[in-house]
Amino acid sequence: MRKPRELEPPSTPPPSALTEVRVSPLHQPALHESGLRHTSGEALYVDDLPHPPGMLVAWLVTSPHAHARITKLDTTKAKAVPGVHAVLTHAEVLGLNNVGPVVHDEELFASTEVHFHGQTVACVLAESYRAAREAAARVEVAYEPLPAILTIEEAIRAGSFLGDAHVMRRGDVKAALAAAPVRVSGTVDNGAQDHFYLETQVSLAVPEEGGAVRIHSSTQHPSEVQAIVAHVLGVGRQRITVEVPRMGGGFGGKETQAAGFAAMAALGACVTGRPVKVWLNRDRDMMTTGKRHPFHSRFDAGFDEDGRLLALDVDIYANGGFSTDLTGAILDRALFHLDNAYFIPALEFRGRACRTNLPSNTAFRGFGGPQGMLVIEEALNRAAERLGLDPAEVRRRNFYGAAPRNRTPYDQEVKFEDNRLLRLFDEVMKSAEYARRREAIAAFNASSKYQKRGLAFQPVKFGISFTTSHLNQAGALVNVYADGTVQLSHGGTEMGQGLHTKMLAVCAHALGVRTSAIRVMNTATDKVPNTSATAASSGADLNGQAVKAACEQIRERLRPIAARLLHADPDEVIFEDGEVYARGRPSARVPFREVTAQAYLAQVSMSATGYYRTPNIHYDRVAGKGKPFHYFAYGAAVVEVEVSGLTGEHRLKRVDIVHDVGASLVPTIDRGQVEGGFVQGWGWLTCEEVLFDDQGRLRTHSPDTYKIPAFGDAPLDFRVQLLENAAQDDVIHGSKAVGEPPLMLAIGAVTALRHAIAAFGPPKHEVQLRIPCTPEAVLFAIEHAKRAASR
């Protein structure tokens, strides 16, 4: 990959330019649009905004029980503390005391019952944190504890579910299993994962005239925050403006869960008439917000002697926590990804979401997909181990291919011409020298008693689109000023994923201007209304099309003006690099700013909105069939690990990834998403352990006890390539979504660990390794392997 440069067009034509415009930042390496400003503190986050005069801060009073009836709630003493302006409880709510985003089953302030340890009961607003804390201690709440359900097993036993079951079927799975020569069955459990965005949840609400409120929020979904705040205040959405400067990380954790804190701030602003900031410290954030869903799955798989899947029967259960949140869609996506990259001739998948007395689990990069994939990957690993086959080869044999091996469990076609699995397999196995290294590792393992190495291949196929079809829409607003500069607003939010950098490139390309002439504005509901969350990896796909549409309208309005200035036919005008010229006459150029100055005088509007919706997607949840995805993103990794047989500690020695991002909009940004996603997935699978005690209290609520990957956990040798010549039809400039899919490549680390652990056991040893693969889990798996060897 070439060295990135400032977001300026390169002087040589880009090789893969799709239009006649030859000089454009599209498909070119670029720096992150805010990169330099990040380094100096010039990049502002909500908590950095200058404090408006009179601002109050908040301290939450939360439940000390996982489940209890509230028998008394008295804020009198708290209100008497000097500096305290209000104590918000359910009684102060002006509209609806509910912030459930999909189903209204989540109170803003618990009124009669609390449903998890850490649930908000009251919110003190005061002039200082000290006063707010002191008052919080004086809010009198009495509880009558009730029995709590904490685990999936308990929920199943108690029949405690959220929503309906979701079932997919094909063929006669029972008969196919009975006839299969090889049967592998078992359970797979995964733990939760805290988002650990470095910036905790925060909202600042400023009262405006006429009962209106402007909210600066760290949210992936400003329109939903606007809607929920309007409900809580009992006003129309026209009174609520939500603005997002940028987030210090989101990862799904600020898709729905920012709304409650924004609502508290807005309510506080209305009640007190003062600006109110609700900011959570790390412990409160971790205790109160939901996480990646833990799943428990049972599977029964049938294979032929060559490791080809014949049938798969799966029950999956998600631990949703106390309310629905996005659990339904997450469960759906888990089912949609039980197949990962593999064709399954006969199958039955049944999914259920459990209601428990835990924080409400929520979106997290991958959105159920990773949990689904873990199941089939476990089945393939076990089959390969039992049959003594190379797990990489077993995976290749099971890839989707030509008809009839091209239909997913939900009957969407995996288009053969778009199926990149074999290409990725070939490229990554070759560049990673898989075969040679596997031999070298066998030799190393034979000569090393206490240290063993493992190598694994991991493919990913990930469906792109919101599976709730109507969400696949986006808008943009582009204002071109008479001096030729541009303000770009779109419905997507920037959380570090580089969306703004990509939108700059799309906008610059469409208008033919330099990126330095464009300013990306804060995302705001008064600029672009009714937006969807920036989620499902779809930010660039959806907003990119909307930005393009808006820019092209303006460009076409400018075209006649430019033609007049160039004395050319409008069809001949080319907009490029901050100038216009006529085709065939590149030396006679007029600056873009002259065109816009003339357009202003000619009374031409230079403001336009753009809109996009994804065509042709649909899904029938009852039938379990449809085309929920616009397309699939693919990737493949080869992962090498080393483990210690004495302590179970392990390390990523080398990771090779070839990822399919189509024709990348900005390759440097995409590479960052691939690397960051992989390491985040590795954290979930190996070192991040969310632990609750038997009272439902979170034990791991700060980085002291909750360990995300640190600097030295990054692979010692990390090679990432973007698949070349991979433009995708019908997506913005041939690119593909990248936010989530690479996270699941980290499942390869589990397979690699199994390979290393198996080396402590007898031939064809089936490894018993729990997730997360902490040193403890690995050491016990090694002990199990050693015992098997000595039998």
Binding site: S40, L646, E649
Partner: protein, 488 residues
């Protein structure tokens, strides 16, 4: 000095009415309106709050040290120069480390970035980052949730040791000096007192005068009471300004004395030249910014069962040196820990240092730390292991096997030691003796590890120690490595 005074981004600041337990982080964000420095955890575990402070190295040269502003109380920078990420961009030009971060796409969401920039800033002015693993150690305290670290590593490789001849190099001198740290401050508003006595006499006087006084050194433990539990200690007496307490010096009659306020960073530098077992342990002690503040004395006076210095120092036969107005007394370090988080210190007595004797002849010695995450994590199990083996008979003549994380205090495995002494030093005798570990310890289960895991690791460390010291009696940690004890 009777008020707080320090130099922030080249401007001297005088503060007369602020609580002395205000952290530098909160001061920057809430009072100085400098918001580059972020709060990600308020407990030293994320690095988002990293700032740079000019400090003197043991060799007298001044250098920048990256420090967690969230645990740094304002009086701890008394008289010193502090820089935040805002200061690095000068006259519209970004600093080398800022450019390296941006050009490598080392930031995505950018929230960790100002802290990372300040850790890189320290790296830029360090002259000893000559190995990749040292760069990892430099950066280990800075979490980034977005990038997966590869681009930050690339940036670190570009800037480490570059030391541009710029404003910041000039601010290190020669000719530039800090103002004295000495301080006796009373907050008019909260009545809290904070003292930086400069001599022992002053210290004893303050301790006599202030019955509520708490001792503080680096504050990496004590500040947590302020930032996590919202306590307002009324009187703090810091040992930082007492010159005689800082540094490593030769001990009378051989060996060395580690002064109580020696920062772990300085001890690590010393250990890298003189004590492989200590160096091994310190490699994974906290992270750079913590080590820049954490002191030897603070680590031991904490008396935490998972403090990392105790096991290795006990294995090395260290003595605790206690001091009060009445004079000095000494005891074997293992006797300094009397119960869970309780030491043998009397009121108005301090730990002045630890005395470490020279290694006995024919010693095999090493130290290990096992935690869920390799970097910046608290031990699940740690060990300092030392045996002497007679070269002719191959019999064990003495054993000091000290473990952390296995009991309420750091403790020796006395029964295991007894089972080893007199035996021929073989794998069989080690494994036989290791059975006694179950008699020595009944470890607990918690989020760091289950009791069976701890027990198994304690045994395996002894086995690994046997293997590892076959070739080298005093082995160094290989780099890169997978595990705390790496044998094939």
């Amino acid at each position: 000095m009777d008020h707080l005074r320090f130099c922030l981004n080249d401007r001297w600041i005088d503060l007369k009415d602020i609580s002395p337990t205000t952290t530098v982080l909160r001061y920057l964000r809430d009072h100085a309106h400098l918001t580059a420095t972020k709060e990600g955890c308020a407990e030293g575990d994320c690095g988002a709050c990293t700032v740079a402070v000019a400090e003197e190295r043991p060799d007298g040269k001044r250098t920048y040290r990256a420090i967690n502003a969230c645990l740094l109380l304002l009086p701890m920078v008394q008289g010193k120069r502090v820089y935040t990420a805002e200061a690095l961009k000068r006259n519209g030009e970004y600093h080398l480390v800022q450019r390296a971060m941006a050009e490598n796409l080392g930031s995505q969401c950018g929230y960790c970035t100002p802290g990372i920039v300040m850790a890189l800033f320290e790296a830029c002015y360090r002259d000893d980052l000559d190995q990749p693993w040292k760069i990892d150690a430099q950066m280990a305290g800075n979490l980034c949730r977005c990038t997966g670290y590869r681009p930050i590593r690339a940036a670190a490789n570009e800037v480490a040791g570059k030391r541009p001849d710029d404003h910041f190099a000039q601010a290190l001198g020669p000719g530039v000096k800090d103002e004295p740290m000495q301080l006796a401050y009373t907050s008019p508003h909260t009545q809290q007192r904070y003292y930086n006595p400069a001599t022992f006499e002053e210290l004893w006087d303050v301790l006599d005068r202030e019955p509520e006084a708490r001792i503080v050194a680096g504050g990496t433990d004590l500040s947590l009471e302020v930032t996590k539990r919202y306590a307002d200690p009324p009187v703090l007496v810091s040992l930082e300004a007492i010159a005689g307490l800082k540094g490593v010096r030769p001990g009378a009659g051989g060996g060395h004395v580690f002064g109580a306020t020696t920062p772990v960073t300085d001890l690590e530098d010393w250990a890298s030249a003189h004590s492989p077992p200590l160096e091994r342990m310190l490699r994974y002690f906290g992270a750079r910014a913590i080590k820049n503040r954490a002191t030897v004395g603070g680590n031991l006076c904490n008396a935490s069962p998972i403090g990392d210095l105790a096991p290795v120092l006990i294995a090395l036969g260290a003595e605790a040196v206690l001091r009060s107005r009445a004079g000095e007394r000494r005891m074997p370090l293992e006797d300094f820990f009397v119960a869970y988080r309780k030491t043998a210190l009397e009121p108005k007595e301090i730990l002045a240092g630890v005395k470490v004797p020279p290694l006995p002849p024919h010693a095999r010695v090493s130290a290990y730390k096992v935690s869920k995450r390799r970097e910046l994590d608290i031990s699940a199990v740690s060990a300092g292991l030392c045996v002497t083996v007679d070269p002719t008979s191959r019999r064990v003549t003495s054993a000091r096997l000290a473990y952390g994380g296995m009991a309420a205090t750091p403790a020796r495995a006395r029964k295991t030691e007894a089972a080893l002494v007199g035996q021929v030093w073989t794998e069989d005798s080690v494994l036989a003796a290791a059975k006694q570990l179950a008699e020595d310890f009944t470890p607990l289960s918690d989020h760091r590890g289950s009791a069976p895991y701890r027990a198994l690791v304690a045994r395996n460390l002894l086995l690994g120690f046997f293997e590892e010291t076959k070739a080298q009696p005093c082995p160094r940690l290989p780099h890169p490595h997978t595990a705390t004890v790496e044998v094939r």
